[in-house]
Amino acid sequence: MKAMIRGNESIAYAFKLARVQVVPAYPITPSTLVPEKISEFIANGEMNAEFIPVESEHSAISAAIGASAKGVRVGTATASQGLALMHEVLFIASGMRLPIVMGIGNRALSAPINIWCDHQDMMSARDTGWMQFYAESNQEGLDLGIMAFKIAEDPRVLLPAMVGLDAFVLTHTVEPVEMPEQKDVDDFLGEFKPNYVILDPKKPATLGAFAFPEHYMEFKYGQWIAMQQAKKVIDEVFEEFENRFGRRYRKVSGEFMEDAEIAIVTMGSMTGTAREFVRKLREKGEKVGLVKITTFRPFPKEELISVLKDVKVVAVMERNISHGFGGAVYAELGSAFVNQPSRPKILDFIVGLGGRDITFKTFEEVYGVAKKAIENDVDEVNWVDVNKEAVLKAEGLL
């Protein structure tokens, strides 16, 4: 069945179809529509769940942990400052190995305050032990939202997962999606049975104990192993999903990559524009390809090496910045290649922060630098579409 929905609704529908039992959430632009929609589903009797209108995002994720530990399926949603406010608790959700799924309306962080799209929020949560998926479209948001439960709840994984949808570009934009049937999703996910120790008076257990140096590291190693296992489980779930619903997902998807000399790496909604740009260049005979990263945690190192190893230049386009070094994707992709016998030149392009449009002009500039880099030395980290002169003047450098 086709439905016209906004990105936020794709998360809400994923929760409904997954028969999520508890949703603690707090309003924040641009993900507010998720709890609104859940509230509507419950009010209409379409969804049998407990909605907790918590007083902060910190409490949203804390309540999510409590509910998940009690042994129910839990979903929540947030963005930007809200995700940052959750930060300490994110580590606890993953450390306690609770398969919570969270939709993120990927939004810039203050200051200056800005409600529009970039990936700084989720990238800053990179090390919290959560799996991370980035959607290109509302269809992907819905599908990844459903699959995230299956991956997170797999006994080999038991890790929480975030599904990112670009602020406004996806969260508030209506797109046609193929809405799966409830029965098919029920079959796909199976009835929720917690594969972990829960709070049950019949079997008292202590959760969240105090670990001394002689035990702490083993817990962390357990999470490391779970993330490694997740790589395989994600592939399995993507495949099972494709067999059942006919839509194909990969941690990393390469397009136009045969004989490509330059590869543009993207995440999220900019991929649509990138695809069109690359297609047009291909028509002109340019040897350029596109690589989309859907799964950022666990980092798809092997897949990226495999798809990018033969190109001359990789242009990473990313909507986040780690001041003092560069973008997170660039840093990790570089690390992925560091022990390879040969590797492409890898360049970083910081684009689209705080909702700045990523247009063909952006791609043209990126492609120009990448092409130049085949023969010449260029800057490794490049800021695109930014008024550098004004900034350098303000900083007293011009």
């Binding site: 007083e55 509910a67 035990h215």
Partner: protein, 297 residues
């Protein structure tokens, strides 16, 4: 079913000798019985009772962080409701985790009316990190961040935050102050809280031998004095009706506050100046003058 002869809080935990918190926990659990889930804020109680892989808890127990016990309890309660399970959900937090850093989460939990009993064990400072002042530290107490010296001979300069009345103002189903040294009153309040639907809050005084600087054998005696001097009055408030607060215990004869102060190192400096003792006595007298008529047998 009566579980008073059963222990749900096992001996062998690492709480200090003379600490009142284990008395509180042990009795709350005996009165609640095994059909209970405990949520614990970070603090002495959490640290000293769950050194992995050992635990002192014979009921399901969860700790997440310092400031969010009330939010975690909200989630546990919602999940229990989703599963159609009826059980006691009890949160324990110290004064820092409850009245300071955990205040927002607690306010939310109570305002939303979750069916949870939140028990504050109030030892009047951040004891787990080494006796730093909290909003529950009383005027005149020495702590490591309200130090006493030439420029400040008093120590803590602010009065104790009236957390029970603040929580009651959220229209909590049941709020009470309690003191395990006034045992019958304490027990009645725990039972009443457990039998009441909605958000319940018990503000329980809990002495700390290291922070209050007292002999571990004097715990009960000192805590009894806290109420018998009138410093820690025992009352209850139902459904946010603060005007009809009910004082549940009144000593036959109030003892002078000095008796309470002199047993504790944290107040030693106050005794050097009769003005300070007088001020505290006047504060207590003023409270009872204002609220004493709420006492009902």
């Amino acid at each position: 079913m009566n579980y008073e002869n059963q222990e749900f809080f096992a001996p062998g935990h690492g709480m200090c000798a003379g600490c009142a918190a284990p008395i509180v926990v042990k009795w709350v659990l005996k009165l609640a019985g095994p059909n209970t889930i405990v949520v614990n804020a970070t603090g002495c109680l959490e640290v000293a009772t769950t050194p992995y892989p050992r635990t002192a808890w014979r009921v399901p127990w969860i700790h997440v962080a310092f400031e969010n016990a009330a939010a975690v309890a909200s989630g546990v309660e919602a999940a229990a409701r989703a599963k159609g399970e009826k059980l006691n959900i009890i949160a324990f937090g110290g004064d820092g985790g409850t009245a300071d850093i955990g205040f927002q989460a607690l306010s939310g939990m109570v305002e939303r009316g979750h069916n949870v009993l939140y028990v504050l064990y109030d030892n009047e400072a951040y004891m787990n990190t080494g006796i730093q002042r909290s909003s529950a530290t009383p005027w005149g107490a020495w702590t490591t961040t309200s130090k006493v010296g030439r420029a400040n001979p008093i120590g803590e300069l602010r009065p104790k935050k009236p957390i029970a009345r603040i929580i009651a103002a959220h229209n909590a189903s049941y709020v009470a102050t309690a003191n395990p040294a006034i045992f019958n009153d304490f027990k009645k309040k725990v039972e009443k809280a457990l039998q009441t639907e909605g958000a319940k809050f018990l503000h329980v005084l809990s002495s700390c031998t290291t922070g209050w600087r007292h002999d571990p054998s004097k715990t009960v005696e000192i805590m009894r004095l806290a109420t018998d001097t009138g410093i820690f009055p025992l009352y209850e408030i139902e459904n946010g009706d603060i005007e009809n607060m009910r004082i549940t215990y009144k000593p036959k004869e109030f003892k002078p506050v000095e008796e309470y102060l002199k047993m504790q190192g944290r107040f030693r400096h106050l005794l050097k100046n009769p003005e300070y003792v007088k001020k505290l006595q006047e504060d207590v007298n003023a409270w009872w003058e204002k609220y004493g008529h709420h006492y009902k047998k």
